[in-house]
């Protein structure tokens, strides 16, 4: 007796296999496209993977919670990868030497600007609290930002989506903005990009200059730690 297609489908969609396969395959496709596009920041593999998976589960009629149930194995590793960020941060700390005052000042100024400007513009244009909350975290690297989002009760999903969008915007716009303000030294350009656009900005910076990349990575790590320490404390007073 031949099992019919429907039966096979019911069997497969009941295991985590389908969700895991979809997630990894979509991300792999994203990476291939990114490489083909000469690593242009607009061809971001995460954005491609998210759009692909979202389209696939909508077409197949899989509700999101069911997909997430299967994909949670991937999601779990996010915490482990966050701990692992200690390695690139530790390696980058040597770059702080002799420049600690300007770097720390720029970090605080950049972090404050990121939150104040995003929240002010969104409020002015009438966005509600569920949108504004995740904007507090969009310049913090996504794995850390999503962890903080859970603590301050804003959506980790929107935090991730805003963070990835911010990373892409920062990577695409950085050159013009940095030229406009007359920033010349590679370490300064890299650090500014890392403060604003975390991981995606960092890989962009590395593709332009190793020195810029090192400082962008340092900025991303420090901004992540600073954000995790301060945003949960400040958020209750700033959200209104």
């Amino acid at each position: 007796m031949k099992p019919d297609l429907h039966e096979i489908w019911v069997y497969l969609s009941g295991t985590p296999l389908l969700a895991l396969f979809l997630t990894l395959a979509a991300y792999y496709a994203g990476v291939v496209i990114y490489e083909r596009a000469d690593r242009h920041p607009a061809a971001n593999p995460v954005a491609i993977a998210v759009v692909t998976v979202a389209a696939a589960i909508s077409i197949m009629g899989i509700p999101y919670p069911k997909y997430f149930e299967g994909a949670q194995f991937v999601h779990f590793l996010l915490g482990t990868a966050t701990v692992a960020l200690a390695v690139p941060i530790y390696k980058g700390l040597a770059a702080l030497r002799g420049r600690i005052v300007p770097l720390v000042a720029a970090l605080f100024a950049g972090a404050a600007t990121s939150i104040a400007s995003a929240v002010a513009v969104a409020r002015l244009l009438g966005a509600d609290a569920s949108i504004i909350g995740p904007l507090f975290l969009k310049s913090v690297t996504a794995p850390i930002g999503m962890g903080v989002a859970e603590r301050i009760h804003v959506s980790p999903t929107l935090t991730a989506v805003f963070a990835v969008t911010t990373g892409i915007l920062g990577a695409v716009l950085a050159r013009s903005v940095l030229d406009l303000v007359g920033s010349k030294a590679w370490w300064q350009r890299g650090f500014a990009l890392g403060v604003a656009a975390h991981g995606i900005g960092t890989s962009r910076a590395f593709s332009v200059s190793p020195e810029a990349g090192t400082y962008a990575g340092l900025a991303m790590g420090l901004h992540g730690i600073l954000g995790a320490l301060l945003i949960p404390l400040l958020y209750p007073y700033l959200r209104i």
Binding site: A19, Y27, V46, A49, V50, A54, Y64, Y67, Q72, V74, L78, G79, T80, A81, V83, L85, A86, V87, I89, P102, L103, A106, G110, T113, S114, S117, A118, V121, A122, G126, A127, D128, I131, L135, A142, P143, I144, M146, G147, V148, R151, P156, T157, T166, L169, L173, V177, L178, L180, V181, A185, R189, A192, L193, A196, A197, I225, A228, L229, P232
Partner: protein, 117 residues
């Protein structure tokens, strides 16, 4: 490689415990990150197997937030209603954050250089 993974998971667990009982506002993995940084400075270096595992994880970080980000399908109506506000906030904020950070660095490092000479 397994030795490295065990150590990283150990620090993640330690971070979760500290976060749960002492620092409830800070996510466990971030506490684990800071503890691991402390461990590196005590040891004055990074063990090879920890380096190998951490590098593999960090290089594929993007993959790990795909499952959560796909949840955006549940926010479509809200995002569409506030599309202008979200787009404007993200663009303005990205531009200003880069500009302000770069300007602070430029001004302060110039001043520092002047003080040293």
């Amino acid at each position: 490689m397994i030795a490295g993974l065990v150590r990283i998971l150990f620090f993640q667990g330690l971070g979760e415990l500290v976060s749960h009982f002492l620092l409830t506002l800070i996510p466990g993995p971030v506490v684990g990150l800071v503890l691991l940084l402390g461990w590196f400075s005590v040891r004055n270096g990074i063990a090879q197997d920890v380096d190998t595992v951490a590098t593999a994880l960090v290089q594929n970080l993007g993959l790990l937030f795909v499952p959560a980000a796909v949840g955006v399908v549940m926010f479509w109506p809200q995002l569409r209603a506030h599309a202008m506000a979200v787009a404007a906030a993200l663009v303005v904020s990205a531009v200003l954050t880069i500009a302000v950070s770069a300007l602070v660095l430029k001004i302060l490092s110039k001043r520092q250089a002047q003080n040293e000479t």
